[in-house]
Amino acid sequence: MARGIATAGLPPPRSTWDAINPARLLGELSETRYWMYLLLLPSALLITAIVLFPTAYGFRLSVQEMRLNRPDLGTGFVAFKHYARMLSDPIFWLALRNTAVWVTTSVLIEFLVGLVAALALNRNLPGTKVFAVLILLPYFLPNVVAGNMWALMLDSRIGVINDLLVRFGLLGGYKAWFADPSTAMGGAILVEAWHSFPFFTLLIMAGLKGIPADLYKAADIDGAGPLAQLRFITLPMLRTIIAAAVILRVIGLVNSPDLLLILTQGGPGRATEVLSLYAFQSAYQDFNFGYAGALSVVMFVLLMLFAWAYIRLSKVNQD
């Protein structure tokens, strides 16, 4: 059928060979609108193989029985059994709440500190380049290194933070930050914020370079102070970058349990249990890949909803 469409307007084949000559057929095809799809095919296959297939496989796992240490249960289709279990699983709801606290607070702190750092570095004062490198250093540390380093610094026996706080009279005695449910999440959030605020600094700095200086000069003439300039020029001009940074960071935080795994393992009790950690434990400690798959699907859906809602609310697409 394609050939029929393709040959319209072209000279008819002069011989039988000409009619089946692949080079000629390809040439004819390149003149049609189907050529575009043919060119896209390799990319589409690649994306299917490395993105869509694993995602679809994850969805399939979530409706399957898959307990690696219980081969007697088989690997059959269980429909929404795991999702139904989730509804009555108190750990799931606790982890969902903790995830909201962990992600919201971390992103907020990282954004604010990152913004302040970027604004300071953007002033091009003497020594700015050195400070820029220093500020970005935490982000270059792998999570494992950062986590273990902070675990040592906050240790209740040998931790330098406790020592300093006691010496300055801010603390009566050494405190086990990760042994107390009221401070464990806070401690972990501070470590996370320290580690990842440079991500915001980097992106916001890049955005600041793109804001025309004329806007600030005009605002100066109109008598706008630094806060007004921040509110009416800087932040609106950075809206797209901030939206991208927030979405990327939220995705990273929701999906990565590594820092909490090192610092608290979800404890004490379940004070720092988040969804990604719960999914990890379900998969690799309970070997229940079906339930872990269902938890991952829920996280996936929540992230999609968040990204959609955030883009709509921040009106990024209206620019």
Partner: protein
Amino acid sequence: MTTNFDRRSLLKLGGGALAASALLPRAALAASTSINYWHTFTSQSEVAGLGEVMKLFAAAHPDIAVTPENIPNPEFMAKITAAVASGSRPNVTSVASERFQDLLAMGALIDITDRIAKWERRSDFDDKRFIPITKDGKTYGVPAFTFVDWMYYRKDWFADAGIAPPTTLEEMRQAAIKLTDASKGRYGFGLRGGPGGQNFVVNMMEAFGSPVKKPDGSIGLERDKVVQALDFYSGLLVKDHAVPPSAAADGFQQIISGFQTGQTAMIWHHTGSYQDIASKLKPGVEFGTFPIPAGPAARVARLSYAYNCIAKEENADASWEWVKFWGEPDAAVAFLEKTGYFPASTIAAADKRITENEMYKAAAETLGFGLPQPSFPGAAGWAQNVVLPALQQILTGQATPDQAADQIIAGLAAAIA
């Protein structure tokens, strides 16, 4: 100077090299067989012990190259699960007995029953050593060393206070209370409520008369006894204040360093930490050891084994040489001397370097009454993800022993359902 090779001279050179290679002795060409070995040794003494065994093995088997790969204990199950799923499993892996059922169920281990039956050192090992690594008549590993649970105590502090090493849990509690002086940062007992602390809770429940499973495989936990056990164990912190306030987050490193630095008077661990402690405190003078005290219903000290198992068929003969080498008395004693881990072989354990050492008396005594760790598919996950958080919740005031007991029993029911 430039040398130009034409095609003909290049062919001559290649042909000559090929002919020369045929004249070389076969041994010179035979590449040594390489195997990799996954283990969870992390402390300095453990790494030194492994190094010592590898040195002896290299001398005995110069044709086999062993590449050790450290997998930190908390990550071990995740890594091996991924390796099994992706087909990148190691040649040999160390397997703690409580993990055997899970690993076997996921098909991670190779049956070596026939190899063991033909092994010349099989009779050095008591049959009981193989029970935890055998299922349906098939054996999947050779015991490398033994984890013998015991207590370390500050001998000098006990002497100053006029207290004898406790023989019951209640005596242990009283000693812990007496030796606690929070104003000096000194506590009677180093309770492990952080990573790895779950097994002590399981032991405590059994000591109070509530084993995890009955012989018929059904749930053995009795609520009242579980509550009593949790109340007693957590009470050391929440009622008696005889353990460091950081207990809910204290893992291996914290309890060991707490004992080494004079923060705690007693800790419950196994012989494997002996050399680490002896590196900071004088054995027999500053610290001593005693067998695990008896509970109201039972005296529960674990005798568990670390096994070496073959995880893939490739180079299985070389893997088997490495696996069985750990049963050689010289290797076992060398490992003990560097670490404190007890040999699993009866012959090696009878070595006078062990029997004549006063500090190992408690371990030798424990060999007589020690019990294996409960092992069933899902045991490790249940202990780690249900029992430990439940204990932590009591320690941090988030739950009562009754609430924690309910979580533990419900969690077990879900794990074996």
